[in-house]
Subunit: 416 residues, 2 copies
């Protein structure tokens, strides 16, 4: 089965906006064992859309298109599809009812001319329900190809893809095979290291596939099991997942869609412990990440971004003598920062980070990328020194992740 | 002139990596007055690449392709192009010399079989110099279409596009016109408001083009002047830029590629003033953004993320009575936070943010999205209350930007 994607929009084709819809759709389909063979992007021009629809319909079994279904004059997808397929536009009463209901429910101002335009679809289309917006999607067959049209707004498109399009494609084509997927998120290993540790797990003949994807600074591993029997697919996935867990152990920070910060939030909530932070070179990035999780106020007491020496002395009680003798980027100062913030905030745990993010400020003994991270608890304080490379932003992100991963390992009693 | 882009790679077509190369190329070309009409993405399959090259060459004047030029077995672009164009692969001595020189210069291990593969290009190709990597790009004409092939690594592709491909295209087609562009970055207006304020500036007949692009939460405006005479292009752009500056005034936070945080850093450095921050719902996001600018330690003294009431009381001196009487999200507490951090850090200016980022924690009187921002200086403290909508992340980002924009306006003596 051949599947093509078509994304429609002037903002995409001129490069004003990066096209993330295609990657979302292709990767969601792959989770169901469906491989996309091409993506096409075209502008909001009726002629270009007509050409693209005709070309793609001729060479594919399925086309999933996004964009150009809105109420404004430059949204011409429906008209172009009408022309390409020879099915004239007609008012679709389901689409119209949906628009009126959505507008009513949200207390929006009703604009007859603009909104009703969205109810005109090529004759013979079946509508695809949009649970969040006014524009319905639509489906129709043309020359043996099945065409799905969705809005370009990611939040609408993503829901409609998962609720309607994928189940429909699976019903038509994928009925025979059961597909099961599992995700493992790891931090601290390189791509070749991961690849080597997982070698021999994939087995395409048996229907077991492995995908390693680097999303700096972490790596996402996807396992996919395909089989004619549900039990067999479950077994394949279970066994392979066990092997991945055995091989990677503590390098796995979470499974499925759970982020590092969500995992840490879960562990803090379960442990009943509290946290405080003292950040220098990361400038608040650890606090920002951890507080992005709803409910973090229950365990995250306080963070301080002590950029100047004066702030380190006054706000964290770092002895001036230490700063003079060892410098702000040193094991001694990192420890004094961690202990200082822990005492002042009366938290169970604390993390402190001090380093040289660059691009200037490095020296022969302490080059750019030198970062000290300290963790303090009731029993004392431990410090590690890291050498990161890359841009200022990369060094800050790596420092943030090393600090977060240390917290995770501490709460799980894993050695770093 | 019709231009198409072709991006080649399994990681792109399966959605494991978002395709940002297309947007970069399209937007770079637009800055030179060259509009792309379509993007295509295909996997690392020889047959699919052959089909795509033939189809795109038949319908376009120029095709710019990226990816699949590396040394590994799945890099098959050159072989596919050889097949599509009927120009068999042959060793290109310029490409070979480049590989050997790059490997030697970087002290890399030389792998004859893998690296030399990159020297085999379709007969009759002209090489495109790669200033940073081993893989040369190549150019050839086919059925009247000019084909450019570049590596997929963004750092290599971007340099080669600007150093070789764009000058070459301009020499062939655009030699007559001079193109000048200007960028204005604005915050605080909606897209329709911006559109209305700039109506009448674009004049396609005169060669003046305007592009408004929303990059949440700010908007980028690009002006492009095209003319047969250099002087005329400069004049067109200068006049239009003046009109944009007059119309948008203080809404413009920077021009060209300067970010909001870089602008603020510049203003602080120039003023000699210092800053401290007290953040609750933004969780350190303002500190993180401002310290992303190298050299920010000169004016950024300190930030505190006071998430708990206890931290607000102990670390900022917010009176317990205020918290009980008005709640942590209130004008009174925001002011006490701003004044508290300013006194404690001995800074000239301070900003405090407290709000309800959601998804829970809202009430009828203070719904999710209610955010108070206070600015304190030697003369006192002012507070504003905002109602933001959207996700937790959107509310945090909007609060961060409102706070940063307020700092910018303060330092420029502009009214908010």
């Amino acid at each position: 089965m051949k599947i093509a994607l078509l994304c429609i929009g002037d903002e995409l084709v001129t490069g004003q906006v990066v096209n993330s819809n295609s990657a979302f759709i292709a990767s969601s389909l792959l989770d169901h064992g469906l491989r996309v063979s091409s993506h096409t992007v075209t502008g909001d021009s009726e002629k270009e859309i007509v050409d693209a629809v005709n070309f793609l319909a001729a060479g594919n079994d399925i086309v999933i298109a996004t964009g150009g279904l809105g109420p404004t004059a430059d949204d011409v997808t429906s008209a172009a599809v009408a022309k390409a397929t020879g099915n004239p536009l007609e008012e679709n009463r389901h689409a119209l009812a949906h628009i009126r209901e959505t507008v009513f429910r949200r207390n929006l101002l009703y604009s007859t001319s603009a909104d009703d335009k969205q109810a005109f679809l090529p004759a013979g289309s079946a509508i695809i329900r949009n649970p969040v917006g006014t524009a319905s999607g639509f489906y129709l067959a043309h020359h043996g190809c099945r065409l799905f049209f969705l809005p370009g707004v990611p939040a609408e498109m993503e829901l409609m893809l998962h609720e309607s399009v994928i189940p429909c494609i699976k019903e038509i084509y994928g009925g025979k095979n059961t597909i099961r997927t599992a995700r493992f998120n790891i931090f601290g290993l390189s791509e070749p290291e991961t690849d080597e540790m997982l070698s021999g797990i994939a087995n395409h003949e048996k229907g077991l596939f492995l995908c390693i994807c680097v999303i700096f600074p972490w790596i996402r591993i996807t396992l996919r099991a395909e089989s004619g029997s549900e039990e067999e697919a479950d077994n394949l996935l279970r066994q392979a997942s066990e092997t991945v867990r055995e091989q990677l152990g503590g390098w796995i920070f979470s499974e499925d869609e759970i982020s590092m910060e969500e995992k840490i939030a879960e562990l803090f909530t379960r442990s009943g412990l509290t946290l405080s932070l003292a950040e220098s070179c990361t400038g608040g990035m650890i606090a920002e990440r951890l507080t992005s999780v709803p409910g973090s106020s229950a365990w995250f007491l306080e963070g301080r971004v002590t950029y100047s020496n004066a702030a380190k002395i006054r706000q964290l009680g770092v002895p001036e003598e230490l700063l003079e003798r060892y410098g702000a980027v040193s094991c001694e100062v990192a420890e004094a920062m961690a202990v200082g913030i822990r005492v002042r905030s009366v938290s169970d745990l604390s993390i402190a980070v001090t380093g040289i993010a660059g691009p200037s400020g490095g020296s022969a003994g302490k080059p750019v990328g030198t970062v000290f991270i300290s963790l303090a608890d009731s029993e004392g304080c431990r410090t590690e020194c890291f050498s990161f490379s890359g841009s200022r932003e990369k060094i800050r992100v790596m420092s943030t992740w090393k600090g977060m991963d240390w917290l995770r390992r501490y709460l799980l009693n894993l050695h770093a």
